[in-house]
Amino acid sequence: MILWLIPILPLVGAAINGLFGRRFSNRTVSAIGLLFPGLAMLYTWWIAAQFFPNPSTIIQTYGLPWIKVGSFTVEYGFQLDQLSMLMALIVTGVGFLIHVYSVGYMAHEGGYYRFFSYLNLFMFFMLTLVLANNYLLMFVGWEGVGLASYLLIGFYFLRDSASAAGKKAFIVNRIGDFGFLIALFLIIQHFGTVNFGEVFAKANGMPVETAGAGLLTAIGLLFLLGATGKSAQIPLYVWLPDAMEGPTPVSALIHAATMVTAGVYMISRSNVIFNHAPIALSAVAVIGCATAFFAATIGLVQHDIKRVLAYSTVSQLGYMVMACGVAAYSAGMFHLMTHAFFKALLFLGAGSVIHALGGEQDMRKMGGLRRYIPVTFWTMTAATLAISGFPGFSGFFSKDEILFRAYVHGPNGWILWLIGLITAFLTAFYMFRLWFLTFFGEYRGGTGHDQHAGREEHHGHAPHESPKVMLIPLVILAILSVIGGWVGISKAMGGSNHFEHYLAPIFEHEEAAPESAALAPQVEPSSTMELKLSIDATLAALAGIGLAWFFYYKRRDLPEKMATSLHGLYVLLENKYFVDEFYGAAIVKPLILGSTYLLWKGIDVGVIDRTVNDSADAARDVSRGFRQMQSGNIRSYAGWVAAGAAAVVVFMIWKGTR
């Protein structure tokens, strides 16, 4: 099997569409745009068919030496092991479905070829990221997906808000990338290699840093910074809600299923390093947990359907990061997989709703849509149940696993568990709020013709179901949202947890090194405890669903009343805790002021320009001084001549008498 084909195929598609797509018809562009990712997907399946019966780590590096400096070498190398196989399947599979969906969704948009070119480019970078066998090649993919994200968020570049959102995403990501880079430098300096196998072998030989912070802690914390940027955790999550300016398939693919999971993948891949640095691991857990709760509270009161889903993504990513933080890497990856299914489905479904309404995204103007768009309704129901953790659906199993592992982790694990439980309650509540507001009640929007307020222009008429090309991916994803969790059913519930066993070789140090007491489960895990905890989680989900039913179906006046009575809290949540404003005032404004006054006016104009100008002025003044000699006055010339002659004569006499 030729591993490099998997990323290269979409790249070829991107190149063809990018360079020549302007002249092609939409059909040709779609054909090319689907062909290459489709081929990549089929090829990945073929490889998987040979891989699964006999999983083993396969590394392929390519003769072209990339960097060779003294004893430090980096090659273009791809690695196929259980973890990257899983990621490759998710990326190609969900990616292809979203490509199919986009054919229908973007059919009436300008720049059609550009969209598919960028989308294929994204696939190339993402696949490079997950298949790389060394940190540097992974970083190439890491940066590349950031670039693709910028291009796609700012797809409607004529709109100021869209291009601003694209810039924000890229810049905030850059801050995280800075952390990643410094960690990379530390690895190069101390390990002399960036290759995964070699780095992990060396790290394994180092002691666990329980006493205090050391090299591995530093690397871990810096990787965490990178992950907060890419995976939208506190403090760098602020780009994700704004990224909803991009077309909905972009939100589905990049900001739900794949790019944002790169951070989680990276932490999982580096599990050896994190296992040796408990302080970093705790930081990961705390950030993940805090983000999950924080984002869920904001999602409670948003009106834009895509914003709710965006904050939901941030929150669910928080779960995944928290899972990694309690060294339950396979649980985190499990949730990554199920989340890819149901979140992509939720976004595509939301896109279907928006398409049906001709561009309306405000939930206050929706309602009663289940009669008009039934397929969308049923598929979104499946996804909403999955994300809320309703028993039997995929989200239930993955979320449960995380909460259980959090509970048994260390002396304070129950705090993480409790916050996670509350977040699960909030998740169920706001998702079903969305469900009720969109699909139940009477339709609150106008008739089609005065709906010009939407983002994506569409001729107005009554809500209509989307074309089949958009519905088929929805159905497939809905099926996956239901059955996708069944590979990870834990022993306590009667399954054999194939998922965890599959990933075990990667995370073989998951059950922590003996010296690290903090990582070992404090409370003895048992089946009964697991069952009890999953019942707690189910109750929380049902409570959330029930409360949503109460507020948004039975007593529709209540939300207004609560908003008025808890006005301060409501305003705080609606304005997302004013974090963006805070960043703007505390960071952006000082930077701009500093750049303007210190760097621009101070140094560039004041020092550099002034040096150049002043030396020119000095030359001019010196020559002006000399020019006085050429006064145009004959008698002054006479004076100069006499003085000069006297000087020469004196000089010659002086020479002569020596």
């Binding site: 008698r635 004076g639 100069w640 006499a642 003085a643 002659a645 006297a646 002569g656």
Partner: protein, 164 residues
């Protein structure tokens, strides 16, 4: 003794004429003073035994060149000088330069040749001797100066021609 007295008399005349040249305001007075200087210098040449040169000095310098000057002054109807503001440079730099230069030169020359004397009439610069030199050793410069004079004539004619 006589030699020294004659030298001093003609020297004083020359210096007086030169001072007068600088002191007078009307150019015609200056021109006539210059003629006096030249005549005195011709006498000095004689004291040094350069009889041919003395004759040439009177004929060419005093007789032709100064006449040319006087003609020009009359042609242009030059009047007494007006008092205009000239350049400060000339006075501030030029005059001190002048003083320094001449004092240095004088000092150097005196220092080099204190006491050495020139006997009067020790060298005869007769016309025959000078002619020998001119037409043998210095023939080339002689011919070139004739070309130079030709050029000067042409230049003077062209430059002074009235625009027609």
């Amino acid at each position: 003794m006589l030699h020294l007295a004659l030298f001093l008399i003609f020297g004083v005349i020359a210096v007086a004429g030169a001072i007068n040249l600088v002191a007078q305001t009307h150019p015609i007075n200056s021109a006539l003073s210059l003629v006096v200087v030249m005549a005195a210098l011709a006498a000095e040449y004689l004291l040094l035994g350069a009889e041919f040169l003395a004759a040439i000095q009177v004929i060419v310098y005093a007789g032709a060149i100064m006449v040319l000057f006087v003609f020009t002054i009359m042609l242009l109807n030059a009047g007494a000088e007006e008092h205009t503001r000239g350049s400060k440079v000339a006075l501030i730099i030029g005059v001190p330069g002048l003083i320094v230069g001449s004092v240095t030169v004088a000092w150097a020359l005196i220092h080099a040749h204190t006491g050495a004397e020139v006997p009067v009439g020790s060298l005869y610069g007769s016309a025959q001797d000078i002619g020998h030199l001119l037409f043998r050793d210095f023939l080339l410069p002689f011919e070139i100066t004739s070309v130079l004079i030709l050029i000067a004539i042409m230049g003077a004619v062209v430059l002074a021609r009235r625009e027609s």
